[in-house]
Subunit: 357 residues, 2 copies
């Protein structure tokens, strides 16, 4: 019996989640380019591509390097990459062997990217730029009506522009997914029209978080980039974007301390992550005990409160805890334990863990 | 120039923090057994021991294994270890080559520990037990007046009991350190007296988080176990337990996006961690820009708001961000970049990163 804590993936639930999103994208007529920051796993990437994903989305040059090494040849770094120093060299090397699209939201940024891929190469490595749009999350991204300025700068610097993208992160709120999907479509539509009006074709209009993907507008988007859907998590459950029966990844943890109404398990923030959005009811959820709440985490403890009258699991019991934000939990693990019908059938390395640069 | 994001340690500030806590413990007449979960680094452990620490505290058998392999021969696993399966074998192996003290807060727990160290060995490996007391944090630990029950069970099971310990985690609050230190001393005093009244000597009375260590009571405690003090962090700064000039570890991050009053850098929750205590003003602090606030993090972005009228650093600028909770940040990195007077002088592996079992 494997020592706890560890992260376990139910491969049948994973496959069901992969199939459902692939079918959803097909129904909408959208390309699916899943975000691999969630799983960081070549094994899962291969399954996504086998089900029709056109390529992967990643967050960093480092993640792109890991998936390129695993044979993925169409990668979108959906991030305003600042291409200086070694990162410029790494990006140039990457673009010389894979099809690479990179995000940008500033004129300075696209000039750095252009210099990076040109350096030392007549003609330069091919690199496509997608302009990042702020659709209401207010993180990175230009205002929709300023997208054309950045696109024109990219073109002047000798880079191809193949479209616009946004991350509608404000979909992470109660009842927020549909309004956020509407704002996503509106912002991307404005940006696309601005590019086209400036004489820049805009074949790619890319959006879609896991909560907003269900409400995505097939009329404006051409591409979806959900990440979390492969595993689902406590956040998606609490947002109503998943149900507990679809959660494919949980931490297996042992009850190490116990008192009236409370069990303390050995998976804390160094296993689950410490994410707690404003809407979350705690620091994770237990699919097998939906009435329980993870009321506190420290590094190696999760304190789980059970309602009055409910049986508290005994010392030594093993509980499954769904992290609030599965991307954070996966990035803390070196491997995922693979289960089929509850039995361990292998492990998958988290190959891109910590690939932050 | 190293690609961002990365964690950097100013070795002179680190040494000053090590010296200050060593001196503080000496002044109080207390043994110092620093918690190595913060740094997970044999290099830093060696410096702590060289300054008079009597041994290390760790949170898991896995961390103990890493530091034992690095030559540390006196280890306290300050956690109610549930010693079944492979973990029992690992603990027995550890106890056969190092001096090991393990926490326990239940009769069932000490029986498991006794069975683990006895298995297959006539007489068993030496293992000392410290009884964990709940001094007000309400995580693990027995009530002070129930400590003797667990201690007697340990003794009946053939284990040595060498004392009592607590983690006064409720010291993490504004103006909370002194009251928590008082409750710590009271709870440990009660538990110690209960053991002695039951005929069990109690030479070790161990406490001390970083915030409460300054207010620790030299009259009851015999040992301090602070962890964070080596690096300090934004939480300690905001609690008043440190000042920004003492923060020895920061994330080096690049401004990748920018708008009025806001800079977005490339160190997000996968570098800084997502910890945000109730008292925290944001998701980290900038020692060089104390007026700025990290108002949001996502996995690869920190959104930093600057006050009206303040200059926002330009695209490409490198900023130092102190994590809220440095233990979480260190556990996300494979190595720490070592700086002296701002220049890189080496790297230290985070040898116990992810050693959660």
């Amino acid at each position: 019996m494997r020592d706890t804590p560890y992260l376990a993936v139910d491969v049948d639930l994973l496959e069901a989640n992969l199939a459902a999103m692939a079918e959803h994208a097909r129904t909408l007529g959208l390309a699916l380019r899943p975000h691999a920051k969630t799983h960081k796993s070549p094994e899962i990437a291969r399954r996504q591509l086998a089900r029709g994903a056109i390529g992967l989305t990643v967050a960093t040059v480092g993640e792109a390097e890991v998936f390129a090494a695993a044979g993925v040849d169409d990668l979108f770094i959906a991030y305003p990459v600042w291409a200086e120093g070694e990162r410029a060299d790494r990006l140039r090397a990457l673009a010389s062997r894979s099809r690479v699209r990179v995000g940008a939201d500033s004129i300075e940024g696209v000039r750095m990217l252009a210099a990076a891929v040109r350096a030392g190469r007549p003609g330069g490595a091919p690199l496509a730029i997608a302009i990042e749009i702020d659709s209401g999350h207010h993180r990175s991204g230009t205002a929709p009506d300023r997208a054309a300025e950045v696109a024109l700068a990219a073109r002047e610097a000798g880079l191809d522009v193949d479209g616009v993208f946004t991350f509608p992160g404000h979909s992470y709120g109660l009842e927020a997914a549909s309004p956020a999907a509407g704002e996503e479509a509106a912002a991307l539509g404005t940006a696309r029209d601005a590019l086209v009006a400036s004489g820049i074709p805009c074949p790619v209009v890319s959006g879609g978080s896991t909560p907003s993907a269900r409400a995505a507008d097939g009329g404006v988007l051409t591409e979806l980039r959900p990440g979390v859907y492969v595993f689902q998590d406590a956040q998606q459950w609490e947002l109503g974007a998943s149900d507990p029966g679809s959660i494919a990844l949980t931490a297996c943890a042992t009850v190490v301390s116990r008192r009236a109404g409370v069990a303390v398990v050995d998976a804390g923030s160094k296993v689950l992550g410490a994410d707690r959005a404003g809407f979350a009811s705690g620091f994770g959820r237990l699919p097998d005990h939906p009435e329980a709440r993870v009321v506190a985490v420290s590094e190696h403890h999760a304190t789980i409160a059970f309602p009055a009258g409910a049986a508290v699991p005994p010392l030594g019991a093993r509980l499954r805890v769904a992290p609030n934000h599965v991307c954070s939990a996966v990035n803390l693990a070196d491997e995922l334990v693979v289960l089929r019908a509850g039995a361990e059938v292998g492990t998958w390395p988290v190959a891109a863990r910590g690939a932050n640069t």
